[in-house]
Symmetry: C2
Subunit: 351 residues, 2 copies
C-alpha cells in the first residue's frame, strides 16, 4: 500500500509509492515500448492489461478482446489503490494518509502510431467522452476528493508507454494547487459576483494579442504568465464548473480546438513532448462544517485545459522560488501560432 | 528588459525573458561546453565573461586574469538586470513588474573537471564563503527582496555549462513558495514560541530513521515528504535565520556534510543530475505597514539546503496537482546512504 505524506512545513502532499522488498535503486520506469506484440495497449493484446473498466465497442464485441475504439483499464502499476479507507495518521508533526485512490489508463486508439495532433476530431471526441464518463463514475465515490485527467506525450513529458493514452488519477485530498485556484475563484465571486476565469477571458478577448483560436464555444490562449514557451490554455467560452456536463456538440468543438492546438505546436516546436491537464472541480460531496472545497458544488469554478510543451528544463531557480523563466513572450507565441494556422508562418521582431 | 508577470488567478510569478527580435523558435539553450579554449569559465578565459564582481585570489593576482580559486561574474545572459526600479504595472487583471534583479555566476573552480562531490571540503568552503559575501552585498540593495542560491549539476538538472558553477538570482518580490515557508514558521512561532524547523529536526533526530548524517553542527535528512528519490535536506542544528552569519568553523562543517551527501548519492544513483538550493530568508528591509515578509528580520526562519536528484520525470499528474509521486521511501534512501557511508551497501526489504 502506498502512502500519502504531507510536508510538515508547507501544504504539499507526496505519494510514497515504494513497493515492499524493492531495492531503492530499482525504481527505473520502463522504457518506451514499440508497437505490436510487446505493447500492452495495442489491439489484440487486451490480456496484457487488467480487465477493462469501460470501452467503446461500436460492433458490440465482448470485453477484453479486439473491436474497441477507446478502452479504459486500471493502471497495472497504480500509484494508489481503490481498496480501504483513506485513514489519516499523525506522529508529532508528521501527517500521512493511506494511499487510497484510483489510477486508470484511457487507451485512446487501438493503433499504436495514432497521434492526437493528427485527429480526426471524432477520435478525440471519443477520448473526451471516456474521460467524462470515468470522472462521473469516480466522483460517485465519496472517498475520492479530486480527479486529475492528464496526458503525457513524449519522454520529456514523462511518458513511459508510447501507445497513445491519457491517465486519470483520483486522490483522497484536494491538492494545494487546486485549492489556490478554488480560493481565488471563490473570493473573486464573493467580491464581484462574477467568475474570475470569465472576466480574464473577457479581458483577453478584448485585448486579442494572446488569443490563438476562438471557435465560438472554446478559446485557446497563450496565458499572460505562461511558464513555458508556447504554453496554451483552453477555456469554454460559456461558464461551466462541470466538465462531465459537456454535451455532444460542445465536445465536438473541444475536440476540434484541442486537435488544432496540438497540431500547430509542431511548426513552432518540432514534435514537442507535452503534458496536458484537464483541470476539473473537486468532487462536490456535501460535508457541512468542512472548508468550502469540501462542501460546495464549486459553481464559481471554470474548468479548463492546460497544455504544457516540455522544451525547457526546470532547474534550481524554479525549485527554489516556484518562479519560471520563459524565454518566449506569450504574445509572440500566439502570433506565431495564428500565422502557422493561416499557413503563412512569419514572425516580426516584437518583444 | 525582461518582465515579471503574475498569474491572474494564483500567486505565481514568471519571468518573461524574451529578447527583442529573436524568433520564438530560437530560444534553445546552449549545449554543455567542453573544457579548454571554448569554456568561458575556465582559467585563462576570463575575458570571455563580463568583468568579475568578486574573486578569491590568494596570490594577489589582478582581476579578470588567472590566479583565482573562486570567481563571481555577472551572468552573460541574465534573466534580470540591475538597472532601473522594479515598477509595478497593472492592466485590468494583469499585473507586471520590470525585470529588475541580479543574476550572478559563482565559478567554483578554475578546473573544468572539478566535481563538488570529490571535495576537498576546503574548496567547497570557498564556494560557500563567496555565496555568503554576495548575499550580504546584494541585500544592501533595497530593491532586491529575495535571493536564491542554487546549483544545477548535469543536463537533466538544467545545467547548460558543464564547468562547475553555482548561480545567485536576486528578485524584486518574495516568491509564493518562500512566503508559504515564512508564514508556516511565523504562525508556528506565534503559537508555540519555538521554531518549526528546530522542532521538526528534534523529532527526526529522536526517530532516527530518516537521518543520513549528523556532524554535530549540521544534520542531513531524507525529508519525510520527499518529492524525489534520495532527496536530501541539510539543516544547521543550531537555529539560524541568517546564512550570511555563518562563521568559519561552521562553514567548514557545512562543506564537509555537503561533500559527503553529494558523494554518497553516487553509489545510490550513479552520477545523478541534481539541483541544490540554499534556502535563505528574504532581505530584511524594514517596511512598516507591509506584510511580515517585508518588515521583519525573519528571526523565526531557519535556513537550509535542499538537494534534489533529478532521476524521475515531472509529468501531467505533478503539473495538475502539485503532488509528487516518489517511488523510494525516504527511510529506505536514508538507510541506503548510511550503509554506503559505512562502506557496506546493503538493503533490507522494508517499505
Amino acid at each position: 500500500m502506498s502512502e500519502l505524506r504531507k510536508d510538515p512545513i508547507v501544504d504539499r502532499w507526496v505519494i510514497i509509492a515504494a513497493e515492499r522488498g524493492r531495492r531503492p535503486t530499482d525504481y527505473e520506469t520502463p522504457a518506451p515500448t514499440p508497437g505490436g506484440p510487446g505493447c500492452p495497449l495495442c489491439e489484440g493484446n487486451e490480456r496484457m492489461t487488467p480487465p477493462e473498466i469501460w470501452a467503446l465497442r461500436p460492433g458490440g464485441s465482448p470485453p477484453d478482446g479486439p473491436g474497441w475504439q477507446v478502452r479504459v483499464v486500471p493502471n497495472k502499476y497504480p500509484a494508489l489503490r481503490v481498496e480501504g479507507t483513506p485513514e489519516r495518521h499523525g506522529l508529532g508533526m508528521l501527517d500521512s494518509m493511506d494511499g487510497v485512490g484510483a489510477h486508470e489508463v484511457v487507451v485512446e486508439s487501438p493503433r499504436h502510431r495514432w497521434q492526437m495532433a493528427d485527429g480526426p476530431p471524432e477520435a478525440i471526441q471519443r477520448v473526451l467522452l471516456a474521460c467524462q464518463l470515468r470522472l462521473s463514475d469516480l466522483y460517485q465515490d465519496d472517498r475520492l476528493r479530486y480527479c486529475v485527467i492528464f496526458r503525457n506525450h513524449g519522454s520529456e513529458a514523462g511518458a513511459t508507454i508510447s501507445h497513445p493514452h491519457s491517465q486519470i488519477m483520483a486522490i483522497p485530498v484536494v491538492p494545494g494547487r487546486v485549492k489556490s485556484k478554488l480560493d481565488a475563484a471563490r473570493e473573486y465571486y464573493a467580491r464581484k459576483e462574477r467568475c474570475i476565469f470569465c472576466d480574464l477571458l473577457a479581458q483577453e478577448l478584448q485585448l486579442g494579442e494572446r488569443i490563438v483560436m476562438d471557435n465560438g464555444r472554446f478559446v485557446a490562449i497563450a496565458p499572460y504568465a505562461s511558464r513555458f514557451p508556447f504554453e496554451l490554455a483552453i477555456y469554454p467560452r460559456e461558464h461551466s464548473s462541470d466538465f462531465t456536463a459537456m454535451d455532444e456538440p460542445t465536445r465536438a468543438s473541444l475536440a476540434e480546438i484541442l486537435q488544432q492546438s496540438l497540431s500547430y505546436l509542431r511548426p513552432a516546436l518540432g514534435s514537442p513532448s507535452y503534458n496536458y491537464i484537464i483541470n476539473v472541480a473537486p468532487n462536490p460531496v456535501p460535508r457541512p462544517g468542512k472548508p468550502h472545497y469540501w462542501s460546495t458544488l464549486h459553481l464559481d469554478y471554470h474548468w479548463h485545459i492546460e497544455i504544457l510543451p516540455r522544451v525547457t528544463s526546470i532547474a534550481g531557480f524554479e525549485w527554489g522560488t516556484g518562479f519560471y523563466i520563459n524565454p518566449v513572450a506569450p504574445e509572440d507565441a500566439a502570433r506565431f501560432l495564428r500565422d502557422a494556422m493561416r499557413g503563412a508562418p512569419e514572425v516580426t521582431s516584437g518583444g
